[in-house]
Structure formats: structure tokens, C-alpha cells
Amino acid sequence: MGLFSKLFAGLKKTKDSIANKINSIFVGELDDDFYEELEYVLISSDIGAEATEEIIDEVKKLAKKQHVKSADDFKKLLREVMVNMLTEVEDEQIEYPVLITFVGVNGVGKTTAIGRIAHKFKSEHKNVLMVAGDTFRAAASDQLTEWSKRAGVRIVKYGEGTDPAAVVFDGISSAKAKHDDVVLVDTAGRLHNKTNLMEELKKISKIINREWEGDYKNYLVIDATTGQNALSQVETFNECVGIDGIVLTKLDGTAKGGIVFAIAKQYGVPVKFVGVGEGLEDITEFDPVEFVNGII
């Protein structure tokens, strides 16, 4: 897993990684002060107050039971608890042919994610089609076209301002005719509290349900720097079209993406892919153990 080492490198760039912080606050005694500090440490990774509380309660209980004495043992225990939180989520595998739409708020990196995921499927010898469903943002389809060239896959696109549902409809027809294995649909970024834009998404989803016979997934793309608002995003997009997985982007910065713990706990949505850079190869399937090791 060369990519996760890249993720590691990214996360390690922060001088004060969680592990270092634990070392510095662990002075032998697991007392209230220690847990309060730990709470701040977890919260600083955007894990959120509620999920943090759950993690700490669990760790506290187990630490007492197992008579944890050293900082290393404690870190090991903490990692276990956090990995459990992520693996408790039910995760369905995809079946080919599959159509995946990528939804999310503006600027999270949907188009870039699609480019890299297309490359990934392509390197697994799948026939991939991209559908440029973002007909709103200036030059969005140009951007996706560039990615389709880099990844060497087909693309269906129309001009700006076209009804995205129509693009999706034609994309599906094309995919059926050419027997594609994977159809990746880009959508315009939309803030989840804009009702009319969410209705548009529903319409696209309805057409897919009607026209596409294969497996259909909706992935919500979330920027790792996003704070607690990500929960609101999951809730609303889930209500609108049903979310099957999360794509966590921009993990190559200093943000740790701790929000996925709260997402797993409150909504039971699994993380599918993790983006760690802008290159064609910089995306990887999510591995809870590696991820937790990366942040602690």
C-alpha cells in the first residue's frame, strides 16, 4: 500500500500528530486531566464532540479493565477502539456493471476524484465511461474531459447549461450500447440546503433508477478539511438520494478527516476512497486500520 505511506507522510507533516500529543500528555497517570487533554487532541482532528466522547468512554472502560500502564499500550488500545468504530459499518461490495454518481458541496474535489477513480478502474481492465453531469460550473466539462484524456476513458458531455438529467440519460444509453463496466457520473457541486438543487439531484437519480439496470451507487465526496458541517451534508444528501459511500479528499494536507468517525457512528455510511493528492494515482481504497494508524 504505497499510497497509504503517502497519506502517512502527509499526516506526519503536522509536527504535533496525535501520537506525539499522547506521548506528551501521558505522564503515567490516566486521570481526568489526561482524558481532558486527550479529548482536545481528538477534537483537533475534527472527530467532533459527540464521537470523541464515545471514543473516550470506551477507551476509559477498557484501559481500566486491561490495566494499561504505558503510553504505547494506551495508543494501541485507542487505535483498536477507533478502528472498531469504522469497521462496524456495513459495507456492500459493488457488482459490475456499476454506475456511480459523485455528489457533494462545491469545491470538495468531485471532478478530480472521478478522474483518479476512472484511472483506477481502467488499470483493473474495466471499460469506463465518464458522464459530465456538471453543466453549471464554468468549464467543468472541460476539466473532466482533460481527466478523461489522462485516464484514457470515454466521456459523454454537452455544453454548459444543458439539463444534467439529459446528459445522464444519454450517458446511460451510450454505456449500454458499448457494454461499459463502470459509469462515473459527475454532478455540479451544490450546497445541501438549497432545496431546488437537491430536487435536481433527485430527478437525476430517478432517471438512473429508471434507465440503468446494473448496480447503482451514490458516493458523497467530502473534503477532509470540512468540520462538523459534514454531518449535515451526509444527512441531507442521504435523505435526498441515499448515500452508499464516502470519498474523502484532500487528505494530503494537515487536516485529518476525523469527521468520518462521526459519520460512521451516526449514519453508518462507509468510506470507500481516500484522495491524497492531485496526481492520477493519488487515490486509494479506504482501509480503516491504515487510516487510524495514519492519524494516531
Binding site: 468549464a139 467543468a140 472541460d142 445541501h192 440546503n193 432545496t195
Partner: protein, 439 residues
């Protein structure tokens, strides 16, 4: 965020037992501080800033005024609000204009923060103020980024200067010469989104800065950013010595605690915010109002301003009189629809109402189409019926429904709604209602 009740609600819960015995105990204060801490963290205020704030608030709350107050919950909220406002600063800071044109604005930020769109919004705003702005495309990395800026420039009718994927500092330098020749007085430079830890790209940005010596270096930050906002803002500030911040995507439902963190850590003012997808959707940033938003207390000030712009004083007085006399008719109802519409998008208005999040009030509940249908129903009434709704019986309802293309059920629903509103006004004007302001 609708997931967590508003802070004021939580605090009243903490203090609810208090009214019974009258004196605040240390434990109650501790619980209250915990609620405040969580509320601020859930709003994405950086934990170090929270720590500092809570200790300050705690100190003030132990004061006699709160302890002996009959409404300690509200007193505490007031202190929280005051502290937040103090931290955010209270005045709106304006764009610095160079004494000798052109004014050079360098935009920077992470990927996806909304720089390119913001460039267009700034250009349009400046154009409206009588300036002659020009845009410069220096994002040479993202596929189609230059093209995106060109499309944006075209939509606001502003020239976009580019030299393809040449070194950004060269493009920026040449753009400046070009601007002077063409007498442009503001030059806005769009740059590639970059991670604050990417040294190579930060050096590139520093080179652009050196090449053009900008009047303003504005860091664009997504208002949904979490704890990392501080790290990002600090790095950009250390490397470039930014002059201000632009907060984007504030039209979402984020509480925007990042704003507080950035101000606290860098001390640099937030100058503008992006509040929508259209090129006009840019507003000056009012720090004091942000405090209320972080606490989910709504943006009452902006709401009042919008209302004032849409409703003349005379209209308001007339309406108030009608409220008092309870002589409110469908004609007034119709006028109200138009006034609300003048205030802007219903969703935006809802977002400013205190506690709107808590009640999960959102645009799907207030359907703009339904308002249009209700208007059609009223417009299908005769003037007499509008003034005397009591006379609307079966046959009239049938005619109104047919005339407005709706159903009798919808006419009934509107009538019911109207009588309820009237009843509500009666209660309010007689002072018997259970309406209390939050403060």
C-alpha cells in the same frame, strides 16, 4: 446545524432547575461551561480558541450579576455573545484601494475554496462601484482553470489576461504592464489552489507577490472548514503576510466557527463573504453578526436591514394599525407576499431567523411555488371578497378555484391559514400571547 439544539436552549435546560432554588452552584456553572464548550466545538471553532474563550467566559459568569440574576441562562448567553463579538472585532473592514492605481489584489487559498468564482464576484462588485477591474489567470495547474476564469470574466464582462501555462510571476508582471497601458485601475490575480504545506507552490506564490507587490493579499477560506482552518490561515499568513480573508459558501448551513478561529489566530480581518452561486452574491462581512450565527441565534440585524429595504416606514405603520384593529384583509396578505419577495430568497431569509435551524425550518417547508399559488387564489377573488373573506362560501370557492387553476381544498387551506394568522395577530396585539423575545 439541526443536529444539535441551539446553545440557548441547552443553557436554559442546564439552568432550568435553578429557578427552584435561586442560587447558582459551582456545578451548574461547570455544566453550563461544558455546554458552551461543546456548542463552540460543534460550530467548528478551533479547540485552542474554545479553551481560551471558555475560561474567560467562566470567569465573567462567576460574577455577582449572573449569580443573582433571575435569568442566569440568558445572562450567560449574553456574556458568550459579548466575548465572541469582542474576539471577532466589531467593525467591517473595507478593501484597501491603492493611492496610485492600479490596486492589485492577490487571491490565494486551498483547492476548492472558491477563489475563481470569488474573483468574478469581486470584479463585478468593483465594477458596480465605478472601478475598471481586470482579471489575471495564474492557475496553471488545474485542468481548464484558465478557461473557467475566462468564462467567469465573460459573465461579468471583465477582461481576463492570461499567458497560458507560463510561470505565474511572469504572467502577473506582464499583466500589470498591460493593465497600466489599458488604464485598468484594479487587477485581480487568480492563483492555483494549493496546500499550505506545499513548499514549492508557496514559493511560487511568494514570487508572484514579489513581482507585483499587491495592495491586498486575500486568503479565501471555505466557511465549512473545521479545526484545520487555523493551521491553514497561519501558514498562509506566515508565508505571505495576508491582508485579509474572504469567507466563501456562507449560504450553506455551516455555523462558520472557522471565521472566529482565523480572526483569533491571525488577527487579520475578514473582509467579504460569498453567499451564493450568482456573481452578485458577495457581501461585506460584519463580524458582530457572525457571533450570533455561531451561536445559532440568527442574523437578526441583516434580516431587519433587508426588511427595512423592502418595506417603507409608511407601509409598516399602516400594517401595524391593521394588526391592532384586526382589520387585516386578503389585500394586505397579498401585499405581504410581495414584500417578503422583495427581501430576497426565502431560504436566505429563513437562515437569518434565530433558531430556524432548531425547528428544521427550511425552504422545503415554505414552498415558493405554493406562495405563487396562494397569490393566484387571492387574485381570483373579487375586491369585495378580498376585503370581506367571510362572504366566501361554496359557490365562490368553486369559482376562485377554477379561476386560479387550483382546487377547492387549496382555497380552503388558504382561508384557514388566513384566519389563523388573524387570530395570532389578535393575541399579539392584545398582549395575551405567549410571545417572548429571546432576550
Amino acid at each position: 446545524m439541526a443536529l444539535f439544539g441551539s446553545l440557548s436552549e441547552k443553557l436554559s435546560h442546564v439552568f432550568s432547575k435553578l429557578t427552584k432554588h435561586g442560587v447558582l452552584t459551582e456545578l451548574e456553572i461547570k455544566n453550563a461551561m461544558r455546554e458552551i464548550r461543546i456548542a463552540l466545538l460543534e460550530a467548528d471553532v478551533n479547540f485552542l480558541v474554545v479553551k481560551d474563550l471558555v475560561s474567560k467566559i467562566s470567569e465573567k459568569c462567576s460574577g455577582e450579576r449572573v449569580l443573582k440574576s433571575l435569568t442566569p441562562g440568558q445572562q450567560v448567553i449574553k456574556i458568550v455573545n459579548e466575548e465572541l463579538t469582542a474576539l471577532m472585532g466589531s467593525t467591517n473592514s473595507k478593501l484597501t484601494i491603492a493611492s496610485k492605481p492600479p490596486t492589485i489584489i492577490l487571491m490565494c487559498g486551498l483547492q476548492g475554496a472558491g477563489k475563481t468564482t470569488m474573483c468574478g464576484k469581486l470584479a463585478k462588485m468593483l465594477k458596480k462601484q465605478g472601478k475598471k477591474p481586470m482579471l489575471v489567470a495564474c492557475d496553471i495547474y488545474r485542468p481548464a482553470a484558465i478557461n473557467q476564469l475566462k468564462v467567469v470574466g465573460k459573465s461579468v464582462d471583465v477582461e481576463v489576461y492570461d499567458e497560458g501555462t507560463q510561470k505565474p510571476e511572469k504572467t502577473a508582471f506582464n499583466a500589470l504592464k498591460y493593465a497600466e497601458k489599458k488604464a485598468y485601475d484594479v487587477v485581480i490575480i487568480d492563483t492555483a489552489g494549493r496546500l499550505h504545506i506545499n513548499e514549492e507552490l508557496m514559493t511560487e506564490l511568494k514570487n508572484v507577490k514579489k513581482a507585483v507587490n499587491p495592495t491586498e493579499i486575500l486568503l479565501t477560506v471555505d466557511s465549512m472548514t473545521g479545526q484545520d482552518a487555523v493551521t491553514v490561515a497561519e501558514s498562509f499568513n506566515n508565508e505571505l503576510d495576508i491582508t485579509g480573508v474572504i469567507l466563501t459558501k456562507l449560504d450553506g448551513d455551516t455555523r462558520g466557527g472557522a471565521a472566529l478561529s482565523i480572526k483569533a489566530v491571525t488577527g487579520k480581518p475578514i473582509k467579504f463573504c460569498g453567499v451564493g452561486e450568482k456573481m452578485d452574491d458577495i457581501e461585506p462581512f460584519y463580524p458582530d453578526r457572525m457571533a450570533s450565527r455561531i451561536l445559532d441565534m440568527g442574523d437578526v440585524l441583516t434580516l431587519i436591514e433587508k426588511a427595512q429595504a423592502a418595506v417603507t416606514e409608511e407601509d409598516a405603520k399602516k400594517l401595524e394599525k391593521k394588526f391592532r384593529e384586526n382589520s387585516f384583509t386578503f389585500e394586505d396578505y397579498l401585499a405581504q407576499f410581495d414584500q417578503v419577495k422583495k427581501m430576497g430568497n426565502i431560504t436566505d431569509i429563513l437562515n437569518m431567523i434565530p433558531g430556524a435551524n432548531k425547528f428544521k425550518l427550511n425552504a422545503s417547508m415554505i414552498d415558493e411555488k405554493q406562495i405563487a399559488r396562494n397569490k393566484a387564489i387571492i387574485q381570483s377573488m373579487t375586491p369585495y371578497e378580498r376585503r370581506n373573506p367571510d362572504c366566501i362560501k361554496g359557490s365562490q370557492k368553486k369559482r376562485i378555484a377554477a379561476g386560479s387553476g387550483t382546487s377547492i381544498q387549496e382555497v380552503n387551506a388558504l382561508l384557514k391559514n388566513f384566519y389563523q394568522s388573524k387570530e395570532l395577530m389578535k393575541q399579539m396585539s392584545s398582549g395575551k400571547g405567549k410571545f417572548r423575545m429571546p432576550f
